[in-house]
Amino acid sequence: MITLLSTWTFGAALGFVAIGVFVSYRLFSFPDITTDGSFTLGAVVATTLLVAGVDPVLATLAGMAAGAAAGSCTGMLHALLGIEPLLAGILMTTALASVNLVLLGRSNVPLSGVTTVLDRAEAAVLPTARLAGFAAAEAGEAARLAFVLLAAATVVLLLYAFFSTRLGTAMRAGGDTPTMARALGRNTGALTVAGLAIANALTALSGAIVAQYQGFADVQMGIGMVVWGMASVFLGNALVGTVRLGGALVAALAGSVTFRLLVAAALRAGLDPDWLKFTTAVVVLAALVAPRLVVRSQRASAAR
């Protein structure tokens, strides 16, 4: 029971990465490698501040802000200096590797004896859960899951609202068709910077929550996160089908939880954990190639 709950919590916490990747990759067609670096950055900033005694909510928000800054930098490399999206992300992530190591001081810092946002959530819910007859361990895990899901729901609602405003709609237009947005007076470079700031703030939020959930930050923890996010977006899309903005945001989140559950099942069935990232990459590759194969076979059958 606890393992299953914990899989859900982890999947939902990584769902912020999926939503971030949805914003950068789907709305802006920007394959943003910064994701790997900003995930770690969020974890590292939150952890460092927590260890220094800063309030956990503030520490988490600071991690988010750091991610936004990293995303803006990638956006500016692209918009102001004309660096290609992939290269801009690679440069930023490489630079962030040093930043993360310097901030953390060493490659791994535990959060033992520190109150995290998840501890706060647990403390708030525990008395009620005890009354309801839950065992303490299960109630605590359920509280952590409830907190992460609540945070995810808030983020989805806020993003949906933002992307329905004039500015948010202009942003989506700029990501979809830059020529149109510029012809209607929008500075597409600035919109891209803002979009990547949002995407990486979400990714860093995910890193901050994951670090607090697992009880440590590690400079390696962001590796492969952009691919994880893409896999979740594709999987969510496959689950929910083609939907409008609100549905797509929920789908990204659902994709992340589902993917985490699938991974847990695969591990239980005997998949060597060392092959996890490889498997994720294969899933993304399959999702990228499958639509083309379908189109080709449709053409072939139409030609017959």
Binding site: F162, T165, R166, T169, A170, A173, T177, A183, L184, G185
Partner: protein, 270 residues
């Protein structure tokens, strides 16, 4: 009013020669005039339009529009004064956004976008009225992705978007060239109607001689980056597609002559 003063645009291919795509063009378009621009491929007419829209950097001369010197304005800044319709229907609309969302973006052209809701009830009503008046049935498709519309319908929506807020200048860059004849005809009629009813200043590039003959109150023929023919008033009204075809042929053969002469010279001195 649009004033072009000695506008030049030079392109340089890496390692190649400099090309004067627009070569010192001066022209004044009075407010409310509908000017049609024609020219052969590579004549510089599209580059001239790009120079006015801000997509092409001008390296000489100045461009004034409605009292502003816009020569150094960015493309998105010029959009405050300029509405545009492109040749490619996909370039002027965002496919994944709904028809209404596209119009919402156009409704705040040249203003701060801000955090108010993009698609208000009043915008929906106005969009339904304006679109339905041109293409009956379109008012019922406001919530569909604009990518699901046909090319002709998308160009009509783009035209409505470009003129949603009255522009000081409407730029039409071969905006019917990608359409089938029937759709092109509908877009042309919608264009003529909106330019007339809103008394817009418009600049239209076209490859279609019938369009060039029948539309607008002034015609410019661009060749090798210069305006070589400027017909307005009564003379423009009398101008037929045949007259234009003849002028075109003469320019083309003159070009061939030049090429042939160059070849002869090269052979003699090589």
């Amino acid at each position: 009013m649009l004033e072009l003063a000695d506008v030049s645009v030079t392109f340089s291919a890496p390692g190649g020669p400099l090309v004067r795509a627009v070569d010192g063009v001066s022209a004044t378009l009075s407010a409310g005039s509908f000017v049609v621009v024609i020219g052969t491929n590579g004549s510089g007419k599209s580059t001239l339009l790009g120079a006015i829209a801000g997509t092409v950097r001008v390296d000489g001369g100045s461009i004034r529009l409605a009292g502003h010197d816009i020569t150094r304005w960015r493309e998105d800044q010029r959009a405050r004064l300029v509405g545009r319709v492109f040749q490619d229907p996909r370039a002027g609309t965002a496919a994944s956004l709904t028809v209404l969302e596209n119009i919402a973006v156009a409704a705040c052209r040249g203003t701060r976008a801000g955090l108010s809701w993009a698609t208000s009830r009043s915008l929906r009503h106005e969009a339904a009225a304006r679109l339905g008046a041109i293409v009956p049935g379109l008012e019922g498709r406001l919530d569909q992705p604009i990518g699901s519309l046909s090319g002709g319908q998308r160009q009509i929506v783009t035209l409505v978007m470009a003129t949603w807020r009255r522009p000081e200048l409407l730029l039409l860059d071969e905006h019917t060239a990608a359409l089938d004849p029937a759709a092109a005809d509908r877009v042309v009629q919608a264009t003529a109607r909106v330019v007339r009813s809103e008394n817009l200043t418009a600049l239209m590039v076209t490859h279609s001689l019938p369009q060039a003959a029948s539309l607008g109150d002034r015609l410019l023929l661009v060749h090798r980056g210069r305006i070589v023919l400027d017909v307005q008033g009564a003379a423009k009204r009398r101008l037929s597609a045949d007259d234009l075809a003849e002028r075109f042929d003469r320019l083309r053969s003159a070009d061939q002559l030049d090429d042939a002469a160059a070849l002869t010279l090269a052979e003699r001195y090589a």
